[in-house]
Symmetry: C2
Subunit: 358 residues, 2 copies
Amino acid sequence: MYSVVMAGGSGTRFWPYSREHRPKQFLDITGNKPMIVETCERLRPVSSEDEIIIVLGKSHLKEAQRLFENSNIHILAEPVGRNTAPCIGLGALYARYSGCNGPIAFLPADHFIGNVPSFLKALETAAKEAEPGGIVTLGIVPSRPETGYGYIRRSNTGAGKPDNKVYPVSAFVEKPDLETALKYIQAGDYYWNAGIFVATEETILKEIEKYLPLLYEGLLEIEESLGKDTFENRLKRVYERLESISFDYGIMEKTKTDIYVLPCECGWSDVGSWSSLYDLKSKDHDDKGNLFDDDTILVDCENSYISGKSERLVACLGLKDCVIVDTNDALLVADINRSQDIRRIVEELKKIKREDLL
Amino acid sequence: MYSVVMAGGSGTRFWPYSREHRPKQFLDITGNKPMIVETCERLRPVSSEDEIIIVLGKSHLKEAQRLFENSNIHILAEPVGRNTAPCIGLGALYARYSGCNGPIAFLPADHFIGNVPSFLKALETAAKEAEPGGIVTLGIVPSRPETGYGYIRRSNTGAGKPDNKVYPVSAFVEKPDLETALKYIQAGDYYWNAGIFVATEETILKEIEKYLPLLYEGLLEIEESLGKDTFENRLKRVYERLESISFDYGIMEKTKTDIYVLPCECGWSDVGSWSSLYDLKSKDHDDKGNLFDDDTILVDCENSYISGKSERLVACLGLKDCVIVDTNDALLVADINRSQDIRRIVEELKKIKREDLL
């Protein structure tokens, strides 16, 4: 099966380690390799290299080409970001052009999967279920009343084997408040929306034709130039006039096509903040809940995350729930429970025109 | 009058800004100049340059010579540290050699004085009172139940003008616990012991002769070589065999000579930690109690002190009671209320043999 790896994120949440030129998917925060490389390697049992299509922003093309230098993975650079609908459309179009005639997994480049066999099994099941023309999303079985994710509610009656049931989606719901999230958990028929889904190239393009006709028209224009010298210019011309719109909003919430959810327990995390990265690496915490690099001295610290990305020694005394990220040109010290607000620091940097640190 | 500025401290409390080669008295933490320079400049209305004698450790001689390059201030380097008694003896000896025949102020090089006129007036009063042969210590009127200082208790009957009374000392007391410190404050006859006192060179040398005869013998040996090429070698030979002993323990607590305390409100601080430096600079705090340098971004922070001594931008989010000291080769992040425990980090550094950071 084909996979379209969506790597368009700009990512300020891991500032100061992430920068505009090096967003989260290019960071080695979850393992030894950049997340985008781990994402592609993880897919290899289900997609051969030339069945993987990365779609990313133009400014990250060179870095991606460097990372996948000796690989047959396809890399497409969007001239400008236009949210997920054009990205998914372009991926489906390019898959068809490359010979795809069946299901494609669409997935972000910057997520973590703890249980890969379980994840791949889910993709395969989803592919089978998507073959007749539906869209199958992975529904991550929630482990806590998370307020940072959207949820997918399933219908009561599922199809398939007991262990691997696929249910019609009853509703996509926005990020809830804590009280609502607790209700979702108790109800048992809500899942985290990981933004990972499987559909055939035919389904995707038909849906776009129906609900986003201008995008479809643009894709046909692009299609004419595929494999030709004119491709890059054509892509640019088309993208510049495209509407910026998400696949969820433009298609998922409107379509009358069958959308299914496949419950999945695969240790998924969107790794959305330093805090969630800290949680993810709980196996590496010391007995006081600290996570830290080599050149660190901790005295009486608890539940703190020290990420040293510079040559400097970092010494900490009496800290609690603290995240420290030390890079060569910028240092972050924050309450780890506030790490979703790091964008506010990035906003400040923009305000004071410190482009060198963005 | 002469002044002996004692600059022998090694100082780990301001790590990572202070290092073995650059102890607190050489830091510009209280103003624009190194504390030792500010201390000497502060004394100028009462002591001319050639009436000021700095006594410091050999390893800091060059730095001091550089700082006082165009000055007539005397600088004496102790070959090894032997606590305050030898330092004070050497200072008194050198003052006599330089022509001093009267009171000398003995004071640390690394203290802060907020109200200089009041301080100088106290020194002058103390000098007058010390002339007949007593030792007059400054007693800092306590502003809080500080547990980090020793206290001086005065007798009930003082001498002198109402505003400027000098009292016989009834007791020197060790650092108290909080309960005891509160009692001291309430009692009203206890003062902080700032380690600043005035006595004539004659009194000091007589006291040493009486209570520390071996030191006295050593001082006489040194005296013979003053102004000669043999001075440095002689000093080294004598110092190596000297006992390490404090003036408080060796003399003050034993002497039958009159010791007086002169109450003084001069905005004194021993600047003993990052926390006390933070308190000292309360005028520079922002409206949330933060103290910080230029290249700093603070979002939702309170009562925190960010001292950037590197080229790096420091960004903070959601911090409370935090001290951050960022230098080129080491970073400290600590609970500011724990800043007296920074020595524990220095101990760790010694343990892991990071001499480069000491």
